[in-house]
Amino acid sequence: MKDRLNYLFTSTKGLILVAIAMISMVTAVWGMLSGPMAEMGVRDWVIKTFGMDIVQAEREGRIIILYHSIAMGVIAIETYMVTGLLKMKAFFKTAVNMLITVGYILTMTFGMGFAYFGHNWAFHGLYITGLSLIFFAGVLLCVALWPWDKEHYITDKDYARTKSGVDLERVAFFTTAVTTVLSSLFGAVPGSYYGHGFETFLAENVIRYPEKSVMEYSVIGHLHIMLALIAIMLTLIIGRWLNFKGIWHKFAMPLMILGCIVLNLGVWGVVTPLEPVAHMIIYVGATPSMLAALFLLIWSWGKFAIEGTAHLTKPTLLQKLGAMVQDPLKFGPTWQMLFMNFTTSGIGIFMAVKLDEIFRVWPAREERIELTGHWHALSAIIATIILMYYGDMLGLKGKVRQIYGWSIIFLSDIALAGVTIFEMKRLFITEAEQQPLVNTLMYMIDFGLGMLLVLLAIVMVWRLTDLFKPKGRWTEEAAQELSQEVAK
C-alpha cells in the first residue's frame, strides 16, 4: 500500500493519473446535470441519488466553484508536467508538487462539497485554503523556474537562447508562470469582496451592459486570461515533450514571451483607464502567441514527415503525409491546436468583426450560447491535448496507441464541429425551423463527448486494476520521469 501511495502521490506520472481520475469523476457526474441529460431526466436522478442540495438562486455560484475545481486539477496536471520536464532543484520540485496536490484536492473536494451538498462553511474555508495553497505553489514554481540562474544556462545552439546562454524557452515557461500567478489575483481580489460590493455573476450574462464595475471587469479579465495562460503553458509543455528546437524554436520563443506579456497587459488593462483599448492590446498579444504555436506545428509536422520517411530514398508527398500522421499521439496535439482555429479562434475573430452587424442583432441568449460554446470548446481541446500526452506517458504502443489517439482526435473533433455549427446556426436557419438540425448536432456532440468519456473510463479502469497487480505498470512508472522521455 505504501508503495502504491508513493507512486500516486510522489511520482509525476502517479500524480497526473490521480488528477485525471479526479477530473474525470467530476466531469462524469456533473456533466449529467445539464443539456440533454437534464432533458432526459438523468439530472433529477443524479440529484436524488447523490443527495445534492440544489438552490435555484445559487446556480451561478455553484457553476463558478465547479469550473474552479476542474481548472485547479488541470493546473495541477500542467504543473506536474513542468516540474517533470524542466530542470529544477529537488526541493522545489517536491515542494511545488506537494503544495499543489494538497491544494487542488482540497479545492475540489471541499469546494464541490460546499457548492452541491449544503453550505458547510468549514468546507468553504478549506476550499479557499486549497486555492491559497495552489497560489503559493505557483509562487514557488516561479522561483524554481528562475531562468537567470547560471545553472540553467544552455550552450546548445539548436535552442533559442541569449548570447550569454539564457534559455529562452525557460524564460517563456517562467513568464507564463509569473503572469498566471499575477492573473489569479484578478479573481481573488473580487472574491475577497464577496458580499461587500461584489456579487456572483457569470460573465456571459452581463456582456451587453454598457457599464460594469471594476470588480466585474476584473473577473471578466481573470477568466479570459487564465484559460489563455493554461493554453499557452500547454503549448510550451508539448513543445518541450517533442523537443522543439531549431530555427522555428528560435523564432517561436521570443514571440511566445512577447505575446504572453502583451496579452496579460491587455487583459489586466480592462480594470484600468486603458479599458477602451484593452481589446486591441489583447489582439496584439494574441497574435505572436498564436504564431509561436503555429511555428511549433510547422516544425513538428515537418519533423514527423522527415523522420518517418528517412528510410526511403525519394519519399512521395503521400508517404510524407503518412509519416506525419503515423503517430496520432504526437501529431494530435498540434492538430488540435490547428482545429482550435476553426472552433474557437476563427469563430471569435468572426464574431468580433461582425459583432454589431450580426451577433448583437440577435438576442443576448444567442450570444451567450456562442460565448459559452466558445470557451467550452477551448477547454475541451486543452483536455484532449493533455490526454494525448498522457497516452504517450502510459507507453501505449501499436494498435492500442492508434485507437486511443485517433479516437480522441475524431470523437472530440466531431463534438466540437457540432458545437461550432450549433453556435453559428442562426446564420443559416430560423428558430422555427431549427429543431432537426439541433437534434442532429446534439447527437454529434453527445456521441463525441460521451464516447470520449467512455474511452477515458476504460483507461481509468485499466489503471485502477493495474494498481492491484504487485508488478503492474505502476511499478515502472514510479521511477520514470518525463524529462527522460523527451523526444530525441
Binding site: E39, Q56, R208, P210, W362, P363, E431, A432, Q435, L441
Partner: protein, 325 residues
Amino acid sequence: MKHSILFGTLTSAGKRGEKELKIRVLSVYPRPIIFILLITLFILVSCAHVDLNAPMPTYDTGIDPNAWAQVPAGEFHFGQHEDIASTDAYEIMVTDVTKQQYANFLNAALADGYVKMDGEQVVGYYPGDEFRGVKHEEKIEAGDWLFVPLNDPSQRIKFDGKTFTVEKGYENHPMTSVTWFGAWGYCGYYETRLPTEMEWEKAARGTDERPFPWGDEIARENANFYSSRDPFEDMSSFGSRTSPVGFYNGNAYDGYQTIDSASPYGLYDMAGNVWQWTGDVYEGMHYRFMRGGSKDTYDMDLRVWVRNNATPTYFSPGVGFRCVR
C-alpha cells in the same frame, strides 16, 4: 497506415488484374463508405423539412385574457441577490397579449392610421430615443418602425388586404413575432404601457424570495419550456410551440395534467411559453429587455430574475408581451 495500405493495394492490384482490384478496394473501403453514409444521413436528417403547420391541439384554458390583476405598492425582493426595491401600485394583464387581441388591435389601428402597411410589414411611429454614442449603442430615431412582419414563416396573423385574422387554433396563444415597437405600440394604443423590469418581476414573484412564480421548484407540468413534454411540442420534428395563455392552471387537457402555476398575484405564464418585452429604455443602450424565459429555453432561464435582451426590431416565435396600467 490506412492510406499506404490503400496505395499499395491499388498498385499491386493494378498489376494483377481488375477483378482482384475490385475485391481489394472493397475490402479496404468499408469504413470510409459507412462514414460517408452516416454523414449523408446526418445531413439529410438535419435538413429535414419542418412542417410549421403540423396539427396542433386546441384547448380553452378558461383564463380570461382581458383580465387584469392588482399589484399593490410596496417593497419586494428584486434580482438574484434579493435587493430591496419598491414600486407604486399598478395593474397588469393576467395573461400575455393573445394573437386574437393583437389582430383586433391591428384592425382598429389600421383604420385609425395608428399603423400602416409597408409591403409585407406592419409599421408604426415611435418618437425615438436619446442617443449618447456609447460603444455598441445604435441610434433609435423618430419615425416608422417595424411592428409586425407578415412574411415571417412563423407568423400566425394574416392580412387579406383589408382585415387581419388569426390562423385557426392560435387565437388564444400569445402574440409572437412582434417587435418591441409592436408591443410598445399595442400597449400605447390602449393607453397602457409595457411593464418596467421591476414591475414585471414584482408581478411574477410577489414579495418573497421565490425563484419561480409558483414557488421554489420547477416541474415539467409547471410551464412550457424546452423539452417540457407538453402537448404542443415534438422535439423530433418541429420542436417547441407556444401553449394557449393560462394553460398551466391545474386543469387536465386530454389526460395531460398541469399544475396551477399562477404567480402570487394570479398571473399566468410569467415563466416559460414566451419571453416578455419590458418597457425600460436604458441610458446608452438601444437593447430592450425581456423576462420570463420561453418554450425554447431551459428551466434556468425561467427564474424570475433572469434577463434577456435584443434590439427593439427583433422578433421571434418565442417572444411576446403583456401590458400594465
